[in-house]
Structures are given as C-alpha cells and as structure tokens.
Symmetry: C2
Amino acid sequence: MTATRTRKAAPEAGGSLVDTAYHAMRRRILDNRWAPGFRALEQELALTLGMSRTPVREALIRLANEGLVEVVPRHGMRVLPVSAGDMDEIYQVLGSLEATAAELVAARKPPRAELAPLEAASKAMDAALARDDLDAWAEADERFHRHLVELSGNRLLAATVQNFWDRAHRARMFTLRLRPKPVNSTREHTELVRAIRRGDAAAAREAHRAHRERGRRELTAILARYRLPTL
Amino acid sequence: MTATRTRKAAPEAGGSLVDTAYHAMRRRILDNRWAPGFRALEQELALTLGMSRTPVREALIRLANEGLVEVVPRHGMRVLPVSAGDMDEIYQVLGSLEATAAELVAARKPPRAELAPLEAASKAMDAALARDDLDAWAEADERFHRHLVELSGNRLLAATVQNFWDRAHRARMFTLRLRPKPVNSTREHTELVRAIRRGDAAAAREAHRAHRERGRRELTAILARYRLPTL
DNA sequence: GCATGCTCTAACGTATACATTAAAGTACGC
DNA sequence: GCGTACTTTAATGTATACGTTAGAGCATGC
C-alpha cells in the first residue's frame, strides 16, 4: 500500500526537517495513528520526531492551514475531528470541483492513452471487490479520482481537490466497512469514462454529480444511523 | 474603505507578531505595493516590520500556502505573479465553487432579510457605475460575491472561494480599466438574485455559470490583446 | 461545600545564536 | 582573453535562550 511514493530510505522527505516533520505528522494523522482529538505539545512532538521545536512549529502551521490540526496556544496541537456537518461541507466542495474536472477532461478529448490510468484504476476496483479486499478497493478508488482531477489539466483544481480528499480520508476509511459493498461505484466510474471518451462534457459532469451525490447520501445515512457525530 | 475591520490602532492584528506580519504583508501584496515579482530577504522583511525573523518566517509559510508568495531557499520570498494560465485555472475553480454556492443558496430558500446584503451590493454597483467610480464598483462586486458564498451556509466553501478570489484580486483590479464598462454584470447579478428568490437552484447555478463564463472570456481576451503574460 | 483571588508552573511567542551551504567573486593556469 | 577551481560571503535552517502569561492548583473566606 502507498507503494508508488517510496523512493529512498526516507519515504518522502524534502531534505529539510520541516518537510520531515510535516510528512511524518501528516502520515500519522491520515493513518489514524494520531486519532481525531489527539493532542500533543510542541515539545513532545519535537522529542518524538527527534528535532527542535522550530521545524515542528513550521510544519504545524502547514497542517493547520490544510485543516488537519488546530493549534491552541496553551494546549499544543490537536488533530481535528471531522464532524458529520464537516463531511457534508467537504463533499459539497469535492462534488463541485470533481464534476467540473470531469467536464474539463471530457471537453479536452484526451487521447485514449491518457485515459489508461482511469481504466486501470477501474479494473483494480473490480478485482479488489471480487477478492473482497476493501482496502485495495478504496486505494484504487482514490487513484481513480486523483487521476481524474489531474487529467483536467488544471493543476490548481487538482491540488485543491487533493487537500479536501485528505481531510475526508479518515472518515471514508472508517465507514468503508459499515456501508453496503460499493458495487455501484465501479459501474458509475465506467459510465463516467465512457462519457469522457465520447467527449460529452455535460454527461461527464452529470455522471460525476450523480456518483458523488449517492456517495454523500450513503455516508450521511451511516453517520446518522450509527450516531457518529465526529470521526 | 475596509472600514468594518478596523478596531484599534493596529488595523487587524491578532495580538501576535505573526498575525501582524501576515496581515501587513498580505495587504501590501493585494494592494500591489509589493508588485508581482517583488523579492525580499527574510532579514529585510524583519527589519521593515520591526520584528525578528521568526514571526516573519511563520507568516511567510501561510502566505506561501495561500499561493501569494514563493519562498526560494537562497533568494528570500518572491511575490508570485499570476499568469494568464493561472487566471484561467483560478476562474475555473471559482466558477465551479460559486455556481455551487448559488445553487445551495437557492435550495435553502433563505428569508428575504438574508438576501438584503446581496441586493444592497447590487444597488451599490449600480450607483458606482452611474458615478463612473470603478473602484467602488469593484468593491461592491466583491462584496456581492462574498455574501453569496457566505449565504451558501458552507463555511468551507466560502473560505476556499475567498482564498482564490484573493489570488485573482490584483489582476482584476489591473484589468478593471482596460475592459468595457461592466454594465452587464449588474443585470446578471439581479437575475441571479431573482433565481435565488424563486428558490430555483438550477437557474441560479446557470445564471452564475453564465456570469462567470462571460467574465472569464472578457479577461482572457484582454490578457491576450494586451499581451499580458503575468500580472 | 463552594466561590474567589493568589501563586506558581510551564508552554508558548519571539529573539538570538550558530552551523551549513549555495552562490558570487577571485585568482590562477592555459 | 577564457574557463576552472578555490575562497569568501551571507542567507538560510535549526537549535537554543528567555520573557510573558494563561491556566492549574491552592488557600482563604463565606
């Protein structure tokens, strides 16, 4: 898992301690090793990461800007929980931007070869589902959506979507096993790809909108059902 | 101008030097006193702002995250120019999110009173246009759009839009006097408000989409006409 | 028992110190 | 005169020092 990124010994450092701290903390948060609500003082973090407070502080600023943590003056940082309401907001934004991305991709009419990653991701989702491997399924699903926004050709849009996707990641993983098997998603993805291939921008937008709308409804239902106010 | 914010002597500081530095630098950039391409070393900035490098660095991280500046290891910070391509990307994202906001507002069917700020802003735009006061017009226009996204009820969306709006601000102000008088904008705004009042979400989305699309085309045309690669 | 005000600790915000290292300048050989 | 390797400089990244102050704990009075 997350294999494509690893390069050397240090998984994804930019050489600087700030980057090391940023990536290390981000990873722990996304992997839920630092659960929502987790608190730690700057000094503790520095100790944990084997550096001084300075780079830790700078990394925390980035994480705070990205909405993953909150820094409260006397209580250190706190991993932000994501409430049901937050998820709703995130899904609205994601839905809007990804639908636009789908539209843009279709309008660009990219050559078949460029769409290969999308098709590969779709296939991987199918295969994972057949094996009942939900983690692999989720990984492939994320890959599909990441490629989609990247194919839009709008780097700003892609980066923005990625950020919001990160915020929703934990909640998605958590509810992965609570919701009905995602048998529809694959079909919807296929449909979306078909619309893109036809160069039918409106259909692509609509396909994505419907896809996300269903996803949002399912998630909301689960959050309500299990009374999960925050994740 | 920017009257509502001022509170004490320091216009908009949060008490901390980091906040002071952040707001001071952001203001200079948005006001174009630090033009695109402007460079400065951390030490110079610290001197200018009357503080040490530490708070300056932390403020710079925020500004860099927001896409207003770039920090190059040996050459200090640099105010990022916005290329025509960047503007295109920004407008695509803004268009997507604001259209969604319009749709959300309409779907909420808010009471008349809540729409008052929108109508007031529209009126102010008309009045400014009648006086040929383009700055006041632009200010009212920004107010209209800000209120619109705030009325969506989605705080995340509102914050995101505001950020992108900031990035585009300079270019908008620059082209303000190069483009035809914005006589259509007001009419389009009015139409949008009408759709919202009717609670017609689809019409609201479409009205906004058309509005933005025209704006994007006009801007692109100007950038091409005057060969303005960056702003 | 509970509220109020005081003391004291320690976390933070900021300043400063310092080692590292990229970049500019310089001398040298050809 | 031109390219190359060395020296020097200075901007940064990081660590550390330090004053300030929020907040916890405690004593006191009701």
